[in-house]
Symmetry: C3
Subunit: 327 residues, 3 copies
C-alpha cells in the first residue's frame, strides 16, 4: 500500500535492507511488513527473534562482502534465507553457545547457495525462493550426528524407517466438518493461524495473525492467498485422514500458504485463473509434503519448506509452456 511504501523509503538504508530481508520470507519487499514480522517473532520467543536477526544480518552482510548484485541486496533478497536459517537451527538443535557460530556459518552458506541457484535458474526466469535455506539447514542438521560440539534437539524427528502413522478415524474426520462445537471451531482457528506462523517456526496463534496483518499491509491479495493456503492446509489433510495433532499445530499448512502466495499472487499475473491454479498447487503441496516427510524419515530430517519449493517450481516452469499463465 502507498503509505507503507512511503515509510519504507524513509527508513535508513541499512535498517531498510534488513527489514525487507525479513519481509521477503512472505515475498514482501517492504520494510514495515518486515518490521512487523520481526516484532511478531520476538513476541513468539526472544531466542527465535534473536536467531532471525543474526541470520538476516549474516546473510545480507555476506552478500555485500561477496560482491553480489546491489539491487538484489537492497530488495532484501539476500536476507530471507538467513532469517529462516536462524530460528530453524535453534529450534531443531540444542541451544549451546557454539550454535550461534553455526547459525552465522549456515547463513553465509545460504547466501552462496542463493547466488548459485539464481544463476542456474536465471535463463528460466524462475526464483530460487527458500530452497537455499532448506538445503543449507538439511546439511547442517544432519551433520551434527558426526560432531560432539552439537546435538539434535528434542523436536527433530528420530531417524527411522517410515511407518503408517496416521491415526485419524472416519469419526474424527466427520467431527471436523459437521460438529461445529466450540472445540472444533477452536481447532480450525488454531490450525489456520498457526499454519501461517509455522512458516517461521512459530507455534503461536498471535504470531500467525501478526504475519497476516504484515502481509495485508503490502498486498490484500497476498494476505488472502496466505489465508486460503492455510485453510487448504487444514481441510485437505483432514479429508485425506492425516494426523490430527499435526494439522492442529499448522504443520500441514505452512507449505500451501507459501505455494498459494507464490502461484496466486507473486510470480504469475493475478487473475481468477491463477487463483484457481494456486488452489490446485496448494492441494498438491499437501501430498508432496506427506511424501517428502516419509522420504526423509530414514535420516530423521523435517521437510521444512521444500514441498512448497518443489510444487512452486513445477507450476512456474510449466507456466512458461502455457498459453494462459506466462509469468
Amino acid at each position: 500500500m502507498g503509505w507503507s511504501m512511503a515509510i519504507d523509503n524513509a527508513i535508513p538504508k541499512p535498517l531498510r535492507v534488513i527489514f525487507r530481508g525479513v519481509g521477503q520470507v512472505f515475498f514482501c519487499c517492504n520494510a514495515i511488513t518486515g518490521l512487523i514480522f520481526l516484532i511478531a517473532l520476538y513476541i513468539g520467543g526472544v531466542t527465535a527473534g534473536l536467531a532471525a536477526t543474526v541470520g538476516v544480518i549474516s546473510s545480507t552482510v555476506a552478500a555485500y562482502l561477496l560482491g553480489f548484485s546491489d539491487d538484489d541486496i537492497e530488495a532484501g533478497l539476500y536476507g530471507f534465507n538467513g532469517t529462516l536459517v536462524g530460528p530453524c537451527l535453534l529450534l531443531f538443535l540444542e541451544n549451546t553457545p557454539q550454535i550461534w557460530f553455526y547459525v552465522v556459518l549456515a547463513s553465509i552458506l545460504s547466501t552462496v547457495v542463493l547466488a548459485a541457484l539464481m544463476r542456474i535458474l536465471q535463463p528460466y526466469n524462475v526464483p530460487a525462493s527458500t530452497s537455499p535455506f532448506v538445503l543449507t539447514c538439511w546439511m547442517f542438521m544432519v551433520a551434527v550426528y558426526s560432531f560432539d560440539g552439537f546435538s539434535r534437539g528434542a523436536v527433530l524427528p528420530a531417524p527411522g524407517i517410515p511407518m503408517d502413522v496416521a491415526t485419524t478415524s472416519v469419526a474424527t474426520i466427520e467431527a471436523w466438518f459437521t460438529n461445529f462445537s466450540q472445540a472444533t471451531v477452536e481447532a480450525w482457528y488454531t490450525g489456520i493461524t498457526k499454519g501461517v506462523g509455522e512458516v517461521m517456526f512459530a507455534d503461536s496463534v498471535i504470531v500467525g495473525i501478526l504475519f497476516l496483518v504484515g502481509i495485508a499491509i503490502t498486498s490484500m491479495r497476498g494476505a488472502l492467498m496466505a489465508l486460503l493456503g492455510a485453510i487448504v492446509g487444514v481441510v485437505v489433510p483432514i479429508l485425506l485422514g492425516a494426523d490430527k495433532a499435526l494439522v492442529e499445530m499448522g504443520l500441514y499448512a505452512f507449505n500451501p500458504v507459501l505455494t498459494m502466495m507464490a502461484v496466486g499472487w507473486v510470480f504469475l499475473k493475478p487473475s481468477n485463473g491463477t487463483a484457481l491454479l494456486a488452489l490446485l498447487a496448494g492441494v498438491l503441496t499437501i501430498i508432496c509434503q506427506a511424501g517428502l516427510a516419509n522420504f526423509l524419515a530414514p535420516i530423521g530430517l523435517p521437510t521444512l519448506t521444500f514441498p512448497f519449493v518443489l510444487v512452486m517450481w513445477m507450476f512456474l516452469f510449466a507456466a512458461g509452456k502455457s498459453k494462459y499463465w506466462k509469468s
Copy 2:
C-alpha cells in the same frame, strides 16, 4: 507403416489423441498402435485397463485446460505419463473408491511436471520421457504412509535397509545357458515377453506379445530394439547372478526395453553404430536398476522406469558432445 498412419488420421480427433497418448508409452505416435496397447491392457486385467483410460484422459484434458501446446497434445505427448500413473497406483496401493480421485490428481500433476521438465530440457533437446510419471507416482505412493484414507498394497516392497538378496547359484546360471530343457526355454520365453508387458505393469506373456505387435505396426526397428532390450534384460542379470524369480517375471527387462528403443530407434539417427550404443546403454540400465532399487529400499519404493530415464538422459546428453551420434 503407411496403412496404419492412414487409419490413424481417419480416427476422430479426440479418440486419436487419447490412443496416441497410450501409444507414446512406447514412443509410438500412432493411434492404431495405442488402441492395440489399450486392448492388451484390458486383456491383462479390467482394472488396469480402466486405470490407464482414466489416467490418459485426465492428463490429456488437464493439458488442454492448462493451455499447453496443441501440437504436443495432439501427438499424445500429454497422455503417456497419465497412462502409466493409473495402473501404477492401482497396482501398488489398495483398491478403494477414493483411489480413483488419487489417480486423477496424480495424472494432472504428471502433466504439470511434464510441461516443467520440457521447458527445463528444451535448450538441450532432450525429452522428459516417463520421468513425470515416476516422480509423481513416487510422491503419491510414499505419501500414503501419512494418510488414513489410503493404504499400500501387498505388492509394494516394505521399507527396510538393503540387504544381499540375490539367491542365484552358479549352477542356476549355467542351467539357464547350457541346459536347454523345456523348463529353461519356457523361463527365457516368459522373462522376455513379460519384460515387454511389465513396461505397463502387465505380468502377462500375451500382453507383452501384443505390445510387440503394436510397436511393429509403427516401426520394425522399434520392435526389434524392444525385443533386444528384453533379451538383454534376461541375459545380463542372469550372468551377474541376480534373483532368478525377478528375471523370470521380466522385472529386469522393462527398463532396457525402453532404453534400447530410445537410444537405438527414437532419439538418435538409426544406424549400426546407434544399435551398438543402445546395447551398451541396455547393459548399463541393468546395473542402474539394481543400484536404484537398493537405493530406494529404506523407504520402500519401486524403481519404476527411472533407470531407463537416467541412462537415456546420460546417453542423449552425451550424444550432443559426440562426432558420431548427434541427435
Copy 3:
C-alpha cells in the same frame, strides 16, 4: 613449471594422454605430474595402481570410440574419472576376477556421464569435475546387493540408520591443540599427509607426500592450496568434535584439499581474495561431508568426493554473480 611442460610435450602422445588423465585428478594437465601420481599409487599398493591404470585407459579409449572432443581427450579430461573409478571399486568391493569387468564397464559409464554433464554445465562454464566418478561408483557399489557375482568389501560401511558416532571429548580436542608431544605432532602430520593421499584412496603418508610433490611440479600455488586444504581438514573437524580416528586417517581432509585447489587455484583468478574464499569453501566442505555421510548411512555408501563437488559447484555458480570473483 616450464621444464616439466617441455618433458610433457616430449612424451609419446598415447602415454602423454594417459598420464595427463591421472594428473587431472588434482587438476594438473601435465604428464610428468600424472606419472608421479601413478608411481605413488603403485607404491601405495600394486592392486590400486593396476586398477587406476585399467580405469584411466578404459575411460580414455571409450571417449575416443564414442567420438568426444579430441582437445578434451588430449588434456586428460576423459581420464581422471576412470583413474578414480578403478581404485574405488577395488577398495570397497571384494577383489574377484569379475571385478575387473565391472571396473571397465564403470569407467566407460563415467565417460558417458562426463560428456553428459559437460553439455549440461556448458552454458554456465562450470566443470563436472569428479561428479561422474562419484555417481557411477555409487550406482555400481549399491547395485552389488542384488548380484551374486559381486560382494561388498569389509571397508564399505554397513547400511543403517545414522546415529551419533562422534566420541571426541573436550580433553581430546584440547590435547590436539595444546599438548604438542610427539604423539600429537605425529597425529597432525599423519592426518594432513594421508588427507592428500586419500583423494585416490591411499591410506599412506608417503603417497600423500608424493602427490604434493607432483602438484608442486605443475604449480606451487596448487600445492599450497592442497596443503592448506589438508590442514583445514584436520583442524576444523577436531574443533567441531569429530571422530579422532577418521581425522587421523585423513578422511575429513581429502574433500577440502580438492575444494581449496578448485576455488583458490584452478577455476577462479588467483588472488588473496580467492584464497580467502577457498578457505571459507574448505570449512564448509567439512560440514557438507559430515552431512552427506549421515545422509548416505541408511544405504551404506561412502561420500567419496561429492562434498567437494557440491561446495565447488555452489562457489563457482555463485562466482558468476559476484563483482569480484568472475571465473
